[in-house]
Structures are given as structure tokens and as C-alpha cells.
């Protein structure tokens, strides 16, 4: 341990010593030590000549010794000469140095004297400057004091003069309140501060008095005062530190009353002529809207603006806290809303009165347009109004509503006229050609569209809307609404027809009007809707496009990029509207086709049910008539059926030729089977005897008593009949459907009764007559056969007697038919 310490001490000491040595530039011993001692190395410090000689003597031979000797001596000579050179050099430098040191010493002596001179002079300067300073000190203080006194005196002067000034301002004509308030607001704080000083107090009192006077005069509740003055007064009152909460309340109530008065005043002026009305409206727009705008500007500047830096041109503003500002904003909005609504009310009332005052729709339109234009242009001028209220939007809404009204009215007129002239109730005497009639009505709509509606729409969209300075969004809105109106035009028309059809009852005869509607729908769906939409799109949208393209071209010439970007969305939106219209077109056509089908089905259903209703009403206890004639209840039914068939033949003109062809083709095999055509050319009249006899032979062997089975088997091979909702637009199909519905209804009805043998005889006779009467007027005689067969079977199973006979009527049928005089099915 101790050893260690000692070693530590020693190394520390050595280190310290080493550091000291190095500081003083003494070479360290250690360096010497480190060099390996080699006494034989001639360049080493440890070189020992004796040792070296010994060594050399030992190791070298003579020759090499000699050589060594020579080498050493040569080296010694070289070193010697080098040393001499160095010494010379060194000496020369020393001499030079000595010279220059001497020179320097000489010069320094001179500087010394100069320096001492300078020092003396500086001393003098400081002395004089302090002297001056001392001498000036007192007066400078005086000047300072005097200066501040001067300022104070000026202020004092101002204050002392203030009452006079204020009075002066007051006495000016007109009184310059704002100047006065400006003075006062500058001095107010001072006066308040030095209230305790008697003079000031007096002045303050005087000023207060004057200000009181002023503030009394600065009325803001005088509702007759114009807005500008009141607004200024409010600003001044704010400057006079009136409580701002009270101020905004007073101000807003003033504004509300003042502006309302303007509105009321405008209402009082009744305007008879259009010019007067327009003048009034212009006046109202001018006075009310600009006053309102002024109110909005000053109110929001005084009370609502939070960013005080933004108020560059406002001298006074109220410092409201957040809650108060909220309240103020609330109050403001309330009043503005109320006023706007009142204004809008007046505007719409004016529009109404313009309707009253003018006789023709053209005049009404022009007048309304002028009125709306007037308020639009006024509003567009007033920036704050647009920024802070929704008045512009609301007026726009009124405008859009008005345009929609106008457009709807156009369509409505067209529709009303159409239905009045072409689709009134058809009385029986009417023997028009309905195809021509419907074509006329079609032409009427197209004419109405091309000559009245489209030009008008064009006028609205191309001229009038443009004049109103609407944004492109709003233009699109108007296009949307016009599209909607057109669609509604169709939908209304469809609804009208649907409503008519659903109002029909089976208790009375169905008017052929329904058929006329069917034909009209057919006509619409085939071409009219399509061509009308074509006209509509072409006129309304294509022209617009051209214009836009032109505009775009012009714009491109000027500023290519910017303008194009802003223009393209508009045309895109309107293009969308065009697409929308195309969608409407297809949906309208499909609606129309659907409607046609429903109306047609409805016709067959109601007509069939009406016939059933008649049959039920006339249905007798006993069918049998004793004489060979058709059962009584058939007569009114057939008469009515005839009427229906006449209606159908008269009104329905679509698909006539096609179906008569198919019928004749169908019946031709039967006809060809007949060798000699009868005067009626009716297979059933002849067939009757044959068919019934063949039936007999077929029935006789086993199933003589169950003809029911035969009908059942027959039924298996015939398709089920769809009684309702299966009607096509062709005379024969409608008739067949009505007949089917009628007969099926009678079948269901007879099943509720009991019959006798005579009744069965009668129904056989009846069915044969019906068959002979109607076969020509149904689409498929097989179906008629089946239904009549069913009818017979239904009566048969309701007979209480057995052994019913199948009758053969021979010529009776022909005679009955001849006597009936109902043939025009």
C-alpha cells in the first residue's frame, strides 16, 4: 500500500515537473532516455568516440578502416563549412536587427512628445465643455418646463375654449354635432381626471351642459329622420359613451319603425296604372332598400364588427362584450328578417295587383317582369344587403316561383283548352271521324307548343332571365323547374284521364269519352310526346348551346384558360338538364302507354259490369217466354251492348284492318265447309242443326245424362280465359272482352237461381241466338262457344227436373235474329 502511494507521488511529481519544463522550453530528460543508447552510432548523443574506435578496431579490417576514416574526415569537412556559412548568416541578421532597433528608438522619442501635447489639448477641451454644460444647464431645464407648460396651456386653452367651441359648433347652421362630439370625446377623459380642480370642474360642467344639449338633439328615436342622419347620430352617441346596449336597442327599434313606415307609406299610395305601380315600386326599392342597406352597414360597423382594425372609415364603435354582441346580432337579425319579409310581402302583393290591374296575361307578365327586375337591380347594387341578409335569395325565390307560375299557367291553359275543345263529353249525336278529331287535337298541342309556349319559354330563359342578373346556378334552377313543369303537364293530363276513369260507375253507361282518351293516349305515346319533347329540347336547349359556344369562342380568344373553366360548368349543368328532359320523355311515354292499357282495361271492365248490372236488374224469375223469342232480359242488355259496340267502332281506329283480316281467315274454314252461304253468312245459323245433331249422337250411348262431363273435357283443352285486364287496343278485342265479362257474370248469376225444364229450353235458345248474333264480333269464336256452353250447363245444373233435352231450333234462330233489329255490334 505504502509502496503504491510512493510510486503515485513520484509519478505525479514527475508529471508536474515535466509540465513546468515544457512551459520553460527545457527539453525533457525522458526524451533523452528514450533514445536507445548506442555508443557506436555516430549521430547519437551517447556516442562515445573511444568505444566507437574500439569497436571499429575490433570489427573492421584495415581497408575498411581506412575507408571509414576517409569518409569521416570528408564528412567533418563538409559539416565544418556548413557551420561557417550559418554563422555568417546569423551574424548579418543580428546586425540588421540592431540597426532597426536603433532607428525605432529614435522615432519613439518623437511620438512621446506629440502624445503629451495631445493629451494636454484634450484636457483643455473637456474642461471647456463641462464649463459650457454647467452654464447651460439651468436654461435648458427652463426650456423644458416652458415647453410642457406651453403644451399644457394649449390644452388648457382648448379646454377653456371648449364650451365656446362647442357652442360655436352648435350654433353653426347646420349644427356641426360631429365636430363637437369629436372635440368633446378628445377632452372628456382629461376633464374627468381633473374634475377636482375648480376651474376644470366648471369647464366640465359647462361642457357637460352643452353636450347634454347636443345629446338631446342627437335624437335617434325620431322615426321621421332619414337613416343617414340617425346612423350618424348613433355613431356620435357611441362617441359620447352612451351605454351601447341601450343604443343598439334604440337604434334598431328606430330602424324597424322607420323602415316599416317607408313600407307602409308605399302601401298607402294606391297605384292604378302600370306606370304608377312601377314608379311606386321603384321609389320603394330606392328608398327602402338603400335605407335598409345603410342601416345594415352602420349597425354592423357600430355593434357587430369584432375586428376593429377592419373599421377604417369608422370613428366610433361600441365595445360590446361577447354576450352583448350576441344579443345585438340576434336583435339585428330579427329586425332584418321582419323587414325583409314585409318587403317580400309587398313585392308579391304588387305582383298580385299587377295581375288584377292587367287584362291580358302578356301585360301581367311584362309588368311582373319589370317589377321583379327593378328590385333585383336595386338589390344587386347594395353590397351589404347581399352579404348580410338572404333578401337576394328570397327575391330570387319569388322570381323563380313567379316564373314557375307563368310556365305552369302556360301549360295549364294549353291543357284546359285542349280538353275543353276536344275532349268534352261526347253526345250520341256526335258522328265525327274520331281519327281526324284526335289528330286535330294532336296538331293543336303541337301548334300551341311551337307558336305559344316555346317562344314564351325562350323569351323567359333567353332574355328575361338574363336581364335579371341571375347567377348561373339559378338559371339551372329555372331550367330544372321548367322541365318539371313540362313533366307535370303530362302527369296532370294523365291524372285527369285516370281520375275520369276511376269516377265511372257500372251503374250508368260508360261514355265513349274514355275510349277517346284511350285513343288519345295511344296517339300521345306513339308520336306526340316524342315530337313535343323534340321541339322543346331543340328550342330551349340547342339555342342556348349555340350561344354558349359563341361566347366560349369569344372568351377563348381573349383569355383562354380562365374563362373556359368558368364557362364550362354552366353549359355542363344545362346539358344535364337537357338529359333530364330526355329522361322525362321516355318516362312520360311509358307512363302514357301504361295509362292507355289501364284505361282500356277499365273501359272493358266497367262496360261489362254495366251490362251485368242491367242483366241482373232485368233478370226474371222465369226465363221462359212461351213464344219463341229470346228471354226478355237479353233485350236491354243487347241493346246496351250494341251501343257500346257502336261507340267502339266509332272511336277506336287503331288496328282495325289487321284484326278483321285475322277473323276472316279464322272463320274461313267454317265458311268453306258450308256449301252455300246463307244470307247472313253466319256459320252458326246453319251449323246449329248439324252441330247439335252430332252432339246428340256423341252423347247418346253412355253419357247421355252427363253433358257436364263433355263441357269439362272441353274445358281441359281450352285455355283459361282472362276476363279482366287483358284488353288490347283493337275494336274486336275490346268487344270480345266486354262480351266475355258479360257472359261470365251472367253464368255466375244464374248459379244462384233454380230453374225449370222450360227455362233450360229457353237458355238453349238464348245461347244459340247470342252465338249467332255475336260470333262475328268476337276474336275467338271458340271462347264464345265455351262460355255459352258454360252458361247452358250452369242453368241445366240448377234445374230441378231431370231428363233435360237438348233442343234443335232449326230456323227459329234466324227468325228471332231477324226480328231483333239489334245487329250493329
Amino acid at each position: 500500500m505504502e509502496n503504491d502511494k510512493r510510486i503515485m507521488n513520484r509519478t505525479n511529481k514527475e508529471k508536474a515537473r515535466g509540465l513546468l519544463k515544457s512551459y520553460y522550453g527545457i527539453k525533457e530528460k525522458s526524451n533523452v532516455k528514450k533514445i536507445p543508447r548506442n555508443p557506436s552510432d555516430i549521430n547519437s548523443i551517447a556516442f562515445d568516440s573511444n568505444e566507437y574506435i574500439k569497436k571499429v578496431k575490433k570489427e573492421y579490417n584495415m581497408k575498411s578502416l581506412l575507408r571509414e576514416n576517409n569518409k569521416l574526415s570528408a564528412e567533418m569537412k563538409l559539416l565544418d563549412s556548413e557551420m561557417k556559412g550559418l554563422i555568417y548568416d546569423n551574424y548579418r541578421k543580428f546586425i540588421n536587427a540592431n540597426d532597426s532597433i536603433q532607428n525605432m528608438r529614435k522615432e519613439i522619442e518623437n511620438i512621446d512628445t506629440e502624445m503629451s501635447n495631445l493629451f494636454d489639448k484634450v484636457k483643455n477641451i473637456t474642461k471647456t465643455s463641462s464649463e459650457i454644460n454647467n452654464s447651460l444647464e439651468t436654461s435648458r431645464e427652463k426650456i423644458h418646463k416652458l415647453n410642457s407648460v406651453n403644451l399644457l396651456l394649449k390644452k388648457l386653452q382648448f379646454i377653456l375654449e371648449l364650451p365656446a367651441r362647442l357652442n360655436y359648433c352648435l350654433n353653426q347652421n347646420p349644427p356641426q354635432y360631429s365636430q363637437a362630439v369629436f372635440y368633446y370625446s378628445k377632452t372628456e377623459k382629461l376633464l374627468k381626471k381633473y374634475k377636482d380642480i375648480s376651474g376644470f370642474n366648471k369647464i366640465d360642467e359647462e361642457c357637460q351642459e352643452i353636450i347634454q344639449k347636443i345629446s338631446k338633439k342627437l335624437k335617434i328615436n325620431n322615426t321621421k329622420m332619414p337613416m343617414k342622419e340617425s346612423s350618424m347620430n348613433v355613431g356620435l352617441l357611441i362617441g359620447l359613451n352612451f351605454p351601447p346596449t341601450q343604443l343598439y336597442k334604440e337604434y334598431s327599434s328606430y330602424a324597424s319603425i322607420h323602415l316599416k313606415n317607408i313600407l307602409i307609406a308605399s302601401r298607402e299610395e294606391t297605384s292604378e296604372s302600370n306606370e304608377e305601380q312601377l314608379q311606386n315600386m321603384d321609389k320603394l326599392n330606392d328608398s327602402f332598400l338603400s335605407e335598409l342597406n345603410l342601416f345594415i352597414v352602420s349597425y354592423s360597423n357600430y355593434f357587430l364588427e369584432q375586428d376593429k382594425d377592419a373599421l377604417t372609415n369608422v370613428l366610433y364603435y361600441a365595445n360590446l362584450n361577447d354576450d352583448e354582441r350576441m344579443d345585438a346580432t340576434h336583435k339585428f337579425k330579427e329586425i332584418i328578417n321582419e323587414l325583409c319579409n314585409d318587403y317580400l310581402k309587398i313585392l308579391s302583393e304588387e305582383l298580385k295587383t299587377s295581375q288584377k290591374n292587367n287584362n291580358t296575361k302578356e301585360e301581367v307578365y311584362a309588368q311582373s317582369h319589370v317589377l321583379i327586375k327593378s328590385s333585383h337591380s336595386q338589390i344587386n347594387k347594395l353590397e351589404a344587403l347581399q352579404k348580410l341578409t338572404s333578401l337576394k335569395e328570397k327575391v330570387l325565390n319569388i322570381t323563380v316561383d313567379w316564373i314557375i307560375d307563368v310556365v305552369e299557367d302556360l301549360f295549364q291553359c294549353c291543357e284546359d283548352k285542349l280538353f275543353d275543345t276536344y275532349y268534352k263529353e261526347i253526345d250520341n249525336s256526335l258522328t265525327d271521324n274520331f281519327e281526324i278529331h284526335i289528330n286535330k287535337s294532336e296538331k293543336y298541342i303541337i301548334n300551341e307548343f311551337t307558336n305559344t309556349i316555346i317562344p314564351k319559354l325562350n323569351k323567359i330563359t333567353k332574355e328575361n332571365i338574363k336581364e335579371l342578373d341571375l347567377l348561373s346556378d339559378n338559371e339551372v334552377l329555372i331550367y330544372t323547374n321548367i322541365n318539371k313543369c313540362l313533366k307535370n303537364f303530362w302527369i296532370n293530363m294523365f291524372n285527369k284521364m285516370t281520375k275520369y276513369s276511376s269516377s265511372l260507375s257500372y251503374r250508368t253507361k260508360v261514355s265513349p269519352k274514355l275510349l277517346l282518351y284511350v285513343q288519345f293516349c295511344d296517339c300521345l305515346s306513339i308520336g306526340t310526346i316524342d315530337s313535343l319533347y323534340n321541339i322543346y329540347i331543340k328550342e330551349i336547349y340547342k339555342m342556348d348551346k349555340e350561344k354558349e359556344e359563341e361566347e366560349e369562342e369569344e372568351e377563348e380568344n381573349k383569355e383562354k384558360m380562365m374563362e373556359k373553366e368558368s364557362a364550362s360548368p354552366t353549359s355542363g349543368d344545362i346539358f344535364n338538364k337537357e338529359k333530364e328532359a330526355l329522361d322525362d320523355l321516355s318516362s312520360c311515354i311509358s307512363e302514357c302507354q301504361k295509362l292507355r292499357k289501364t284505361l282500356l282495361n277499365r273501359y272493358a271492365q266497367v262496360a261489362g259490369n254495366h251490362l251485368i248490372y242491367i242483366a241482373k236488374k232485368e233478370f226474371p224469375e222465369k226465363l221462359y217466354t212461351e213464344n219463341d223469342k229470346i228471354s226478355d232480359f237479353w233485350i236491354p242488355v243487347l241493346q246496351q251492348l250494341e251501343k257500346y259496340c257502336i261507340d267502339i267502332t266509332k272511336v277506336i281506329y287503331t288496328n282495325i284492318s289487321k284484326h278483321t283480316d285475322s277473323i276472316s281467315a279464322e272463320s274461313s274454314p267454317i265458311r268453306s265447309r258450308l256449301a252455300t252461304p246463307t244470307p247472313f253468312n253466319n256459320p252458326y245459323l246453319l251449323q246449329n242443326s248439324q252441330a247439335s245433331s252430332s252432339n246428340f249422337s256423341f252423347n247418346n250411348p253412355y253419357i247421355s245424362n252427363d253433358q257436364n262431363l263433355m263441357t269439362n273435357i272441353d274445358r281441359l283443352f281450352t285455355e283459361r280465359i282472362e276476363y279482366y285486364n287483358n284488353v288490347n287496343l283493337s275494336r274486336i278485342n275490346i268487344k270480345s272482352n266486354i262480351i266475355n265479362i258479360l257472359l261470365k257474370g251472367i253464368i255466375e248469376y244464374v248459379r244462384l237461381f233454380s230453374f225449370t225444364k222450360e227455362d233450360y229450353y229457353q237458355i238453349q235458345l238464348d245461347t244459340e241466338v247470342i252465338k249467332a248474333l255475336l260470333w262475328e264480333f268476337v276474336e275467338d269464336t271458340k271462347i264464345l262457344d265455351n262460355i255459352l256452353e258454360d252458361l247452358k250447363a250452369s242453368v241445366r245444373v240448377r234445374c230441378s227436373e231431370e231428363n233435360l233435352m237438348k233442343e234443335d231450333f232449326g230456323n227459329k234462330i234466324q227468325i228471332i235474329i231477324a226480328s231483333l233489329e239489334i245487329k250493329n255490334f
Partner: protein, 400 residues
């Protein structure tokens, strides 16, 4: 795919059929024949589901049967309205279907015992009974009069407790009561149809209760009361439509079903799952309809659809409002009209065209909720079973 159906033929014209009301265990149906010549019969049919066959017991019945009503709690009793042969008079009687074992020949003899015949002053066309086991009342429908009777005291001389007369209508049509049904929710309320109108009656009060005027455009043939939802009724009419009503809202029907192409003669709610309706028509078809949207299951479906749309909206929170609205619409369409959903939807479930004549009677089995029978005029009686697919769908909403 074709579900099992079972046919039974009767060699008479038939118009009326009911299920045996008091029988809860077996699928039993009672049919009355209508033949103006022959002796008429009452067929008591039993359908065995496992064997899929129909066994029958035939009773002789005097006169053609125009209407049958099963006794609400005595399984062997029926009321029939019939026309006495060779006369125009109608009578209504209470019968007991007796099975007497004749020991000697080990042949069972079947006989109808006349328990009582209503006073013939009443021109009864149809009888409706309170549908509960503790029933006390029945009502008889005449042309324009409804009489209420004590069901436990029907004798040859008993008189009605109360009578209602239908007011005449604006067209001066002949008043013609066509159908009626007792409310399953109240002992005192029943609904009748005449001409185009529906009237409700309360046995405790005089006069018409609620009414639906001009419910159908033409004659109403049948009416049924929703077993699970008070005030909900279904009507069938000659205008080919079946309409579902909330009787408190008489202006507009809740739903119109027009899948038939001729007069609809019957409409019947399933006794358990009121979204299932069977309808029969003189277009020879029987339709099984689902009207979930206006049934008592609608609320289950709505809950579900709400849950599903909620889940969906969680996913698509960021999509625009329009999208979600259209989605909801789509979802609802899926529920009520769409295909491929595992939930029942509105619309026709299946159409049965085994009949070749007008189907005048149709009824659900009283014991099995999925079995129904239909009867056409030509005497063909067909048993059909609700397709299992539809059953699963129904279980899907109520059970999960």
C-alpha cells in the same frame, strides 16, 4: 318443388265448405252439396297429413245446402241454410252429426239429427258465430237484417235477442248482405258486408258502428278479420280485388291485391300467421298471398330492417346522405317486394289451378296452420299446404 296436394271429388255441385271449428286435433272439413234434383249430402272430410289421403263420412241432408256454419264449440253440430226441395223456401237448421253403430251388421249408420230449425219468418241466408269456445252469441244474416241469437238457446220457437237493419244506399239498390265475420278480439263485435259496404256492429249497442262505404267498386263477397291485429280486416269483391283495411281508416285501404282475373269469392286470414291470406275466385284459381307489410309481423320486419340499416350506416358513415337514403329505399324494397330475401315479402306466394270451375269456398284447417282446403262448384275439393320455403321465411322473422 310442387307441394303435396290432395283432391277429393263429389258428384254434386257444391258451394259451401267450412272447417270443423271445434275440432282442434284433426284436419276436418264439412262440405254441403247443392243439387236441385238429387238428395243432398253433407260430407265430413278428414285429411290425414301423414298418409296424404282424405277419408269421408257422408250424411244425407234434405235440400240443397246454400250455407254451412260449424258450431264454435260442439264439434258434431252444424248449422245449414238450405232450400227445401221443390219449393222456393229456405230454412236454417241446427244439425247433430250422429254416428249410430248398427250392431247386427257391424255397419255404422250416419245420420243428421235436426236439433232445431229457426223460425221461418227469418229469411236467413248465412250464420256467423262467435269464434270462441265460450261463445254465447250467433248472428243470422238475412237480406237486409241481422239478428243476434243466444247460441245456447236455439229451439224451433226461439226469437232473436236483437235486430239490426241495414240502411238503404244512395243508389236504391237492393240491400244484399253477403258475408260477415265475428271479431276474434271482442265477444260483442262483428263485421258484415252488403253490396259495396262494410259495417261493424256492437251487440251492446243499436245501429251501425264503424263503416267503410264503397269499400269495393262492386259487390263484396267475403270478409275476414285479422286474428292477430284488431281492426284489421280483409275484403274480397266482384271488382277482382282483395283489399286490406284498418277499419278505423275507411277512406283508403291499406293494401289492394289484384291478382285474380275474375270476381273474388273468398278471402281468409291464416289463423296464426296473419300475413298469409288465401283467396278464391271464379277465375278458377286459388291464390296464397303474403301481405307482410300490413300484418302483425310487420313490426318484426321493421325492427330487423332498422337493425340492418343501422349496421350498414355504421359502415358507410362517410357516404353522402343521398346514398344512404337510396340504400334505405332499396332495403325496404327488398323487404316488401324484393326477391332473394330470406324474409317474407308482399306478393303472391303461389297460385293453385287444380280447379276447373269457380271456387266458391276456401278455408284454413282448424288444427294445422299450414293446411287449407278449397272447393269449386264442380264438386272438387282440394287440400293444399303452404310451401315449406314460405314457412321457413315466416319462422325466420318471428323466431330469430
Amino acid at each position: 318443388m310442387e307441394e303435396m296436394s290432395c283432391v277429393y271429388g263429389i258428384n254434386h255441385k257444391t258451394r259451401c265448405m267450412v272447417s270443423q271449428e271445434a275440432e282442434q286435433e284433426k284436419n276436418r272439413f264439412i262440405i254441403g252439396t247443392q243439387d236441385p234434383r238429387n238428395d243432398n249430402e253433407i260430407h265430413l272430410l278428414e285429411f290425414n297429413e301423414d298418409e296424404c289421403d282424405i277419408s269421408s263420412i257422408i250424411f244425407k241432408h234434405p235440400g240443397e245446402v246454400w250455407s254451412i256454419t260449424a258450431h264454435p264449440y260442439l264439434s258434431d253440430m252444424i248449422f245449414t241454410t238450405y232450400k227445401i226441395p221443390n219449393s222456393q223456401t229456405m230454412e236454417t237448421s241446427l244439425w247433430k252429426m250422429n254416428t249410430v253403430d248398427v250392431t247386427e251388421n257391424t255397419v255404422t249408420e250416419y245420420k243428421l239429427d235436426n236439433m232445431a230449425t229457426f223460425n221461418s219468418n227469418y229469411k236467413i241466408k248465412k250464420i256467423i258465430c262467435e269464434p270462441t269456445e265460450s261463445a254465447t252469441k250467433l248472428a243470422t244474416l238475412e237480406d237486409n237484417t241481422i239478428s243476434v241469437w243466444d247460441i245456447n238457446n236455439i229451439t224451433n220457437t226461439s226469437e232473436s235477442i236483437r235486430q239490426y237493419t241495414i240502411p238503404s244506399n244512395q243508389y236504391n239498390d237492393k240491400i244484399q248482405l253477403t258475408a260477415g265475420v265475428w271479431s276474434p278480439h271482442s265477444n260483442d263485435i262483428f263485421v258484415t258486408t252488403n253490396n259495396e259496404n262494410v259495417f261493424t256492429w256492437d251487440c251492446r249497442k243499436d245501429g251501425v258502428g264503424m263503416k267503410i262505404e264503397n269499400a269495393h267498386e262492386m259487390l263484396i263477397n267475403d270478409i275476414d278479420y285479422n286474428p292477430n291485429k284488431p281492426y284489421f280486416i280483409a275484403t274480397a269483391g266482384n271488382d277482382c280485388n282483395v283489399k286490406l283495411w284498418d277499419i278505423r281508416l275507411p277512406k283508403e285501404p291499406l293494401k289492394i291485391i289484384s291478382d285474380h282475373s275474375h270476381w273474388v269469392w273468398n278471402v281468409k286470414f291464416n289463423h296464426y300467421h296473419d300475413q298469409l291470406l288465401i283467396t278464391s275466385s271464379s277465375d278458377c284459381q286459388v291464390n296464397l298471398q303474403s301481405a307482410v307489410s300490413v300484418s302483425s309481423s310487420a313490426k318484426f320486419l321493421e325492427e330487423k330492417s332498422i337493425i340492418i340499416t343501422d349496421e350498414k350506416s355504421d359502415f358507410d358513415d362517410k357516404t353522402s346522405m343521398d346514398d344512404s337514403i337510396t340504400y334505405n329505399k332499396y332495403e325496404q324494397e327488398l323487404f316488401y317486394t324484393g326477391t332473394g330475401s330470406s324474409h317474407p315479402v308482399d306478393g303472391i306466394v303461389s297460385t293453385y289451378d287444380q280447379h276447373e270451375d269457380s271456387v266458391y269456398a276456401i278455408t284454413w284447417s282448424n288444427s294445422d296452420p299450414w293446411i287449407f282446403g278449397s272447393l269449386s262448384y264442380d264438386g272438387r275439393f282440394v287440400i293444399n299446404i303452404v310451401p315449406s320455403e314460405e314457412k321457413y321465411k315466416i319462422f325466420n322473422i318471428t323466431c330469430s
